[in-house]
Assembly symmetry: C2
Homo-oligomer: 244 residues x 2
Amino acid sequence: MLSKSEVKYIQSLSQKKFRGEENLYIIEGPKIIDEALTVVPQHLKTIYALPEWVETNKNKVSDIEVKEITEGDLERISLLKTPNKALALMEIPWSEGFLLKKNNLALVLDGIQDPGNVGTIIRIADWFGVAQIICSADCADVYNNKVVQATMGSIFRVEVFYTNLPEWLPAQNDVPVIGAMLDGMPLNFFGKVKNGLLVIGNESKGIRQEVLPFVNQKVTIEKTGNAESLNAAVATGIILSYLK
Amino acid sequence: MLSKSEVKYIQSLSQKKFRGEENLYIIEGPKIIDEALTVVPQHLKTIYALPEWVETNKNKVSDIEVKEITEGDLERISLLKTPNKALALMEIPWSEGFLLKKNNLALVLDGIQDPGNVGTIIRIADWFGVAQIICSADCADVYNNKVVQATMGSIFRVEVFYTNLPEWLPAQNDVPVIGAMLDGMPLNFFGKVKNGLLVIGNESKGIRQEVLPFVNQKVTIEKTGNAESLNAAVATGIILSYLK
């Protein structure tokens, strides 16, 4: 059985402050843990798992600390409504200063606060081979449990960087900045974009005023019906399907 | 102040069984209520609202029963984490038997159980002018509060019909059935589709075995990265952006 202090420690990682201090975040469920074991085993610190999970996975986890726990323990440390066999603590990868890759299309998220949307966008980026996402500081934290789970493991393959966009954007010389907006060119006027930044704004507020001056092309998803707007993740998926 | 029995009655509408018996569902928040007042005022039965909402909207609601309530009342009847000024009971429109419109692209949802996804798909359909959605019986109920709120009002403009797909599909003579699948033709091989059914399957299981025989064209969103799958709503948005 887990000690009270260990339970409390794990629970504290649901808060951004403690994640930052401990440099750890939580992943849950066999599927995403399996993905972590494949893609970034070096970041796995501790796995807390039910006996059945430990039995099935014992050959995969030789170098990693695994603690066998009871269902009661798992319920106490899980952030999910329905705990799912195993939970792991992951190290937040240490980034040595972010550098935008050359000849690449990267995503810029401006004020995307919904954790599910940020997670889904990371998964979409991974589907289309977008390797880097630059977020405004007020986007949902990528290591928030809801974001992590919504990425379905894509978090291990996509680099996410938080910054002040109005300061960071002008420092990216000559990289075309495409803004998703309501008054832009229709998607099918664009060809594939090999080099550039695609800016996705907040669903209700759009791209913020301070960021707009850096947008030098506007793209629009043409509307043939009546809905007022599209979900930010859906819009990102549609635009990337044309540009990538 | 609302009576206990009135509170209990409204709360009961969070359950599908009682929605069916009473033929009512709940919408919440000024934005979607405003949309209802514009699009389907005849379906609005009762509005429960804080004094500030009543004051602002008194000119719009002359024919509708409005009950002024306290914040405490609203908290007791609201299904939202953060109640938002007003809640309304809506009549479920009585459908006289569903007929597929001719020369139209309609959506078919097969086993989409997540309410947020079903709601987002209804909103996407509305954006692209898709007027009808046919759902398998195990899709999330369109009048579930989470679905309703995720539609952002598009629920008032899109017709949704639940049926047994393996029985219903073969009765639709000569309508092309396009399935979203992993082994289909890339999207850009398709032109605009004026007449047909687009089938979206469950995110992890795909289109079910019993439905597959009725699919006569397959479409695929090409993957250039590594994610295993796309969210069902995102996939729907991407495909409709090419087909509509």
